[in-house]
Amino acid sequence: MSWQRVLALMLRIVRQFRRDKRTLALILVVPVLVLSLLGYIYRGSGEPTRLAVVLEGDSPLARQVLALLEETSSLQVIVMEREPALQAVDRREVDGVLVLPALPVQPGTQPEVELILEGSQPSAAGAIAGAVSRALPQAIIQTMSPSGQAIQIEPRFLHGGPQFDQLDYFAPTFIGFFAFFFVFLLTSVSFLRERLQGSIERLIVSPLDRREIVLGYMLGFTLFATVQSIVMVIFTVAVLRIHYAGELWLVVFLTFLMTVGAVNLGIFLSAFARTELQVVQFIPIVITPQGLLSGIIWPVDSLPRPLQWLAQALPLTWANEALRAVMIRGEGLDALGLHLAVLIGFAAAMAALAMVTLRREVA
């Protein structure tokens, strides 16, 4: 094992990268763009859901319901007459109509409330149904209790906080996902190129041995992946103001472990591709299932049981769990023993497979 040879290989990969401005932009700029886009989607103000409220008479209850609905930030409440409101929902100018009758509220009676939803957009319908079903009972309690006081719940968060949103939940896993995806893609393409242009034969007959080839590739590519993850961590924390509780170097370290596995998976799978198009065909097999099942968007616990088992077999699931544990719950290395073992095991298994395919090069 000669470190001089390993470093020569690593240096060559770094130089090729530096020459290739487009790829450099792909790994450094694209993740930042995607994160910015997500940040804007989740945190920027979009069109509010519109609800028409029809008051069929004046009553304290109706006024209270209206007041509560108007406080809901995601709703735009418009008071209308019954007929124009029904026409508006038909023309999709509003997403729903709430008809509040002027019933006196007495014990034992139930006000007859009509709710008509446009319904073709589930999230708007859900937002209206949710807001109305929260506002009604609260209004009933407030109008009936002598003091006018309703029960107030002040939640206490163990992790996260009242400001914690979907972006805070996604961001840690995106760092791991991007690192895995780009490193896998770039390694398999550049290793394939090495085969196509015949330079792999020059390496095989040189004093370089298989361990040195795998190590040189690993160092070269993980260097860029680490730079990428540092850029992403800085961007999410400083610009997107993502919630973080733990040590950020741990995030970079977990990403590093993930990319070591990805480099070797790339070397291994490139042996089964003859063209660059065939490398791209690995994306639906390797990347898509991990993107869907590893808990980035849907928590693994919420998946059907057979898919949960499948998710447990994917390295990205473990990386995501560990990244969330660090960033959201502030856990340290000591709490992540199993996750580290799985990620190191994955990297070692992939390195072994990569070396087996390199052995086959001397046919």
């Binding site: 001089q4 040879r5 020569a8 290989l9 034969e201 390496l203 095989i204 007959v205 004093p207 001397v362």
Partner: protein
């Protein structure tokens, strides 16, 4: 002195195809051995076994005293494959530095070798250009430079002068002769007759079989043909079939 290459009944098959068929030969150190034969005759297959990129299916192949493939002699062999097999996005200097470091050259020594080779091969003005700008003849020379860099004991060159102009071809052969005089062994595949005539020893390869292996003069004498091409055809026993591309 021990022979640099000893092949004893070496065969190599690819599925049903027998690319090299029970080849036996010995190449002493300090000579230029030319392997002559039409394309598809097994020249490249044999060269790849000599450098350790292919494993013989049968027989024994000794290179510099070791049974191939053996990584222990990798540092003493220089190999120039048929295609350039370099990194087009890197400059010539960077390509040379990479291969130099892999073969243990560094610092001043590496710089001196790079300087000397780009001078010898007429690439001086191009050393800091990326290889994708090179013509095929220039790539050929760049590839040769990478094989010569670490001054190996054995040089294995797969059709090194294809596509080169006559002036350059002549100067390369002068360089090869110089290396042989320093005691290096050169194994060169070719399919042009004028190059074959410059070799110390010549092997005629056809359909994976070695038809003859001797000095050009002895082959002429044996076949009674003044022309090497005629000698080849006489040995092949099929006069009238061209030996290879001109």
């Amino acid at each position: 002195m021990d022979a640099t290459i000893v092949a004893d009944e070496v065969s190599r098959t690819f599925g049903p195809v027998r690319a090299i068929d029970r080849l036996t030969l010995e190449i002493p150190p300090g000579v230029i051995y030319g392997l002559l034969g039409p394309s598809g005759s097994g020249k490249t297959t044999f060269l790849r076994m000599v450098v350790g990129a292919l494993r013989p299916t049968e027989g024994r192949l000794l290179v510099l005293g070791r049974t191939m493939p053996d990584r222990a002699v990798a540092g003493q062999i220089g190999y120039m494959p048929q295609t350039a097999a370099l990194y087009p996005d890197l400059t010539l200097r960077e390509n040379l530095a990479f291969f130099g470091r892999i073969y243990g050259l560094r610092g001043r020594k590496l710089e001196d070798r790079v300087e000397q080779l780009v001078n010898d091969l007429g690439l001086l003005g191009w050393v800091d250009q990326p290889l994708y700008r090179f013509s095929s003849g220039m790539l050929q020379r760049a590839s040769l430079a990478c094989a010569l860099l670490h001054q190996p004991e054995l040089l294995v060159l797969d059709e090194p002068t294809v596509g080169l102009d006559p002036v350059l071809r002549r100067s390369l052969w002068a360089h090869f002769r110089q290396l042989a005089e320093q005691g290096k062994t050169l194994l060169i595949s070719t399919h042009t007759m004028d190059e074959a005539d410059r070799c110390d020893l010549l092997g005629f390869l056809r359909g994976g079989r070695l038809l003859a292996s001797d000095t050009p003069a002895a082959l002429r004498l044996q076949t009674g043909q003044a022309d090497l091409e005629d000698a080849f055809l006489a040995l092949a026993g099929q006069p009238g079939i061209p030996v290879g591309e001109p």
